[in-house]
């Protein structure tokens, strides 16, 4: 309680001092001349504003240096690399505009601050200028649109070409976890039926266990993928909207109840490769205060939910692993098809 009173007292005191200061300054200004002019103030303000400009642009550059550690490691998917490139090109183009416009803004305020001797130049219109700065941004945007749509159509092709090599994984979002289903050895998912006959608390997905394709399907508690092997995620949601978000792969797709969606890509870096990369990152190479070990030891790719889905939205975490084919097959052979565990019960 004492702390709160003290804090409030400090705040009130701060306001009072600022307020009194402001009133005194105004009184002095009023006293000096009945007609308050902004000439003198303009010089002070132009100086302050220009200083702010330097602080701003300096702070902007500094934050790149200071916060570089917080950026994600290099992309772990083929599309992620393209998207990062596109991001970089956009950053260069907008960066140039950003710096030039701000130089003009702060520079003009400094150069043309009001003074008794200065007279503003009457300059109301210039068609050539307007044409230049309509067409230059239009051109820049055209370049970005072409580049952007090129990448966009690679990630989401209009006509999906069936890739037989593609590994199929099904992910269903629910409050508040992910249900991951692998099709097993036959590469085919057992069919799901949206009907009260099939859906029950024991079988939320409504899998038809009479479908032979379902007999080798297994559920996984983490997502495993093979490096350089294309993968396609079939996405569903049971209750509300979720969004399947893989930050390290730069990919995302919403899961919508009643509307199946999907996203495919090729993972290009294993967990171990990214872990190596993180050893040079000051955050990841530091020791975890809880375990006392270096943080990168426990690194794993992660799946997150990116669409508000309820009060534990922030908890929908799942580990994601990219590994060699041999490692993947070892993992897969250790997984038990779900049908095996329930078939006795079904028989009854």
């Amino acid at each position: 309680m004492f702390n709160i009173i003290l804090t409030l007292a400090v705040i009130v005191l701060f306001y009072s001092v600022v307020f009194l200061f402001a009133r005194i300054v105004e009184r002095i200004r009023e006293h000096k001349g009945k007609e308050l002019n902004y000439y003198k103030l303009s010089k002070t303000n132009a100086t302050l504003f220009t200083l702010f400009g330097l602080l701003f642009l300096g702070g902007f550059v500094y934050s790149f240096k200071r916060l570089a550690y917080a950026s994600l490691p290099e992309s772990a998917s083929n599309f992620g690399v393209q998207i990062d490139n596109l991001f970089f090109v956009t950053a260069i183009i907008t960066g140039i505009v950003f710096v030039l416009c701000h130089f003009a803004l702060f520079g003009f305020v400094w150069m043309y601050r009001s003074s008794k001797n200065r007279k503003a130049t009457f300059f109301a219109h210039s068609s050539s200028l307007e044409i230049i700065w309509t067409s230059v941004p239009a051109l820049a945007m055209t370049v970005l649109v072409v580049m952007g749509l090129n990448t966009w159509y690679q990630v989401f092709p209009n006509k999906k070409v069936r890739n037989t090599n593609e590994m199929q994984i099904e992910v269903t979002g629910k409050q508040f976890n992910w249900i991951v289903r692998y099709p097993g050895k036959d590469g085919k998912f057992g069919r799901r039926v949206i009907s009260k006959k099939y859906i029950s608390p024991e079988n939320e997905l409504g899998i038809d266990w009479n479908d032979p394709a379902s007999h080798d399907d297994f559920f996984a508690s983490e997502i495993h993928m093979i490096k350089n092997n294309p993968v396609y995620f079939n996405l569903h949601a049971l209750d509300v909207l979720h969004s399947f978000y893989l930050p390290h792969f730069r990919l995302k797709m919403d899961c919508v109840p009643g509307v199946p969606t999907g996203i495919g890509f090729t993972p290009t870096k294993t967990n171990d490769e990214t872990r190596e990369e993180l050893k040079s990152n000051p955050f990841w190479s530091a020791n975890d205060p809880e375990t006392g070990e270096a943080r990168f030891n426990k690194f794993s790719y992660e799946l997150a939910c990116a669409e508000l889905c309820g009060k534990s939205h922030y908890g929908m975490q799942m580990n994601v692993k990219v590994e060699s084919k041999a490692e993947f097959e070892k993992w897969m052979s250790a997984q038990k098809p779900h049908y095996e565990t329930i078939k006795d019960k079904l028989a009854k």
Binding site: I11, V18, F19, F21, A22, Y38, L41, S42, F56, Y69, A70, S71, F79, I83, T90, A91, A104, L105, F108, V109, Y112, S114, K119, A120, F123, A124, S126, E130, A138, M141, L144, V145, G148, W152, V155, P157, N158, I199, P201, L238, D239, V240, L241, P247, H248, L251, K252, P257, G258, V259, K298, A304, C305, A306, E307, K311, S312, H313, Y314, Q317
Partner: protein
């Protein structure tokens, strides 16, 4: 002709006004403007306070603040806000600031103040509708405010209120499915009524009640901007009303407009055939124009303030108007860029990419025109001017990050992350606030007959711009963190943001405390500030008609005839006359150019 329509109102001010008709159920546009201003200030304090509370959680997720329990009780047991309350806070923060402050507060204040004054009318086309517009807004605010105090908590499904999360009632698994959500929709329905009443009135007034000589190409830019805003609102709000009604049908009568194949706790629900995506289309058909409803009046105010204080005409007046028009048109064609990741057809996505990046062109034209307006000017750096310059800076910074997000391919990783939060807070949050501040500092003498304290104004400006950038520049670097996370400690990947998040929270609190100075300044100066004297009724030496009215307010604005207009509003430093400005009612001299 417009002139004669107005003139019978001229004697209105002789009528006896009671306290009730003058201050409460006032039909005078100037008083209604003040009502909107003060209600807007009230809401911005509430909205900002909510953000301070959730910033405490985000900045110090592992610490407790016992005083929160004192005030909030069960929502902050043990001094730590609960996750449900966190989601209420972010939902209400968004709702309040987007609708109650930046739509009603900004447009309501300046449309009411400036439209009749600057076009030379004695009041709005329908002063009664204008009064209704305020009182519907008030009622809608009352409903929203009351939802903060109910037992099950305020709406908490995000300000966009997506179904199915918000589309079902009485289900324990659904967050924000209680009374709070219903109140949200009912409040929004009243808000839409208010906005339509206001908007229709603004357009009717501007088209029909301009004084003699005031052609459309002689309108000051704030009036143009407010007219485009009103048109946007009239066309965009009704779809939101229908979206809200259908959602309430789903909630109350268990219809299936937005719901299908829902499985709760392993039980298939009876909803069949609806689509949650339909709601998103309807919502963003308003939701996107909504950001232009916020930013267009801001652009208008800034154009005027920059021109007056540069002692130069606004550069490319007609280009500015055309740019506003193009933004309105394109503003209706870009809504689905909020929905790139919903799994919609990639071809449709690509069409929206093209329209979205096209909007960058008129926006860029406006920025370049503002910069050329101050180029070779004689810049009087009043507090209003400082905020207008701050707006330009914010609009550049925030506008450019839109180029990233508008491109669907880059949006794949960035969608629904803090990069988006940083982008829209700068470009339509802080920027629109800066324009609102610029407007208040500039027109305060007109509104209250007294000046604001300049020194407090400068402290307010420098403090706010530093704090705002200190919050939102580092936030761009959190571009991998999804928004609406109560805590990020469940993910190794996101733990990295602990320090940045703390830094942001510190500046969020500083920024909030600084705004109190502004409120103090307004209240103190409205009562005790330096007076606007009758021999100095045009303190900024501006050309527009509002500065020809006497300092003392009365219903009807001008004691005698309404001045006749002979020129455009931006004849500054033309070289004619002994002063550097030529008010609109001044007849043209020989050799003067018509613009």
């Amino acid at each position: 002709m417009e002139h004669t329509v107005n003139s019978h109102n001229m004697h209105d001010h002789h009528h006896e006004e009671t306290f009730l008709t003058k201050y409460i159920f006032s039909q005078d546009h100037k008083m209604i403007a003040k009502q909107f201003l003060f209600t807007g200030i009230f809401w911005s304090i509430i909205g900002a306070l909510l953000s301070v509370i959730f910033r405490l959680q985000l900045g110090w997720p592992n610490e407790t603040f016992p005083f929160l329990e004192t005030f909030l009780g069960k929502w902050a047991e043990g001094g730590k806000i609960t996750n449900e309350f966190y989601y209420s806070l972010v939902t209400m923060h968004g709702t309040i600031l987007v609708f109650f402050v930046l739509t009603a507060g900004l447009s309501g204040t300046f449309a009411n103040l400036l439209i009749p004054y600057q076009i030379g009318a004695r009041d709005m086309a329908s002063p009664f509708m204008n009064m209704l517009s305020y009182w519907f807004f008030f009622l809608s605010g009352l409903l929203m405010l009351s939802s903060l105090f109910i037992q099950t908590g305020a709406a908490s499904g995000g300000w966009t209120m997506y179904p199915p999360l918000n589309g079902m009632r009485n289900t324990a698994v659904n967050l924000g499915s209680g009374l709070g959500t219903d109140l949200w929709f009912f409040s929004m329905a009243l808000f839409i009524v208010s906005s339509l009443l206001g908007g229709l009135n603004y357009v009717a007034t501007i088209l029909n009640m301009r004084t003699k000589g005031m052609g459309m190409w002689k309108l000051p830019l704030p009036v143009w901007a407010l007219m485009f805003t009103a048109i946007l609102g009239i066309l965009a709000f009704p779809p939101l009303l229908s979206a809200a009604l259908l959602l309430e049908f789903d909630r109350i009568f268990d219809t299936s407009f937005y719901l299908s194949d829902i499985v709760l706790g392993g039980n298939l629900q009876d909803y069949k055939g609806g689509s949650p995506i339909l709601y998103q289309h309807l919502f963003w058909f308003l939701g996107h124009p909504e950001v232009y409803i916020i930013i267009l009046p801001a652009m208008g105010i800034v154009s005027e303030v920059l021109s007056v204080n540069s002692r130069k005409p606004v550069f490319g007046y007609r280009a500015m108007v055309y740019a506003l028009g193009v933004i309105v048109l394109l503003g209706f064609l870009v809504w689905a860029h909020h929905m790139y990741m919903t799994g919609m057809n990639p071809f449709i996505g690509s069409i929206f990419v093209i329209f979205t990046l096209m909007i960058a062109v008129p926006s860029a034209v406006k920025v370049f025109n503002w910069l050329t307006t101050i180029w070779k000017g004689n810049l009087r750096l009043t507090p209003a001017m400082m905020f207008a310059l701050g707006f330009v800076s914010m609009f550049i910074s925030g506008g450019l990050t839109g180029v990233f997000l508008g491109n669907s391919a880059i949006d794949i990783p960035l969608h629904d992350t803090y990069f988006v939060v940083a982008h829209f807070h700068i470009v339509m949050g802080v920027a629109a606030f800066f324009a609102m501040f610029a407007g208040v500092y500039h027109w305060f003498p007109k509104m209250f007959g007294r000046f604001l304290n300049d020194t407090l104004g400068y402290i307010h400006f420098y403090g706010t711009i530093i704090a705002a950038y200190a919050i939102f520049i580092p936030m761009h670097f959190m571009l991998s963190l999804p928004r609406r996370y109560y805590t990020y400690s469940n993910f190794q990947t996101f733990n990295i943001f602990e320090d940045v998040s703390k830094f942001i929270s510190v500046f969020a609190i500083i920024s909030f405390l600084l705004q109190i100075l502004f409120v103090v300044n307004i209240i103190y100066s409205a009562l005790k500030g330096r007076k606007l004297t009758e021999d100095n009724i045009n303190p900024w030496q501006a050309n527009t008609l509002e500065w020809t009215t006497p300092a003392e307010h009365f219903h009807g604005n001008w004691p005698g005839e309404i001045p006749e207009v002979h020129r455009w509003p931006y004849d500054y430093s033309t070289g004619f006359g002994d002063k550097d400005f030529r008010p609109q009612h001044l007849p043209l001299e020989e050799g003067e150019e018509v613009h």
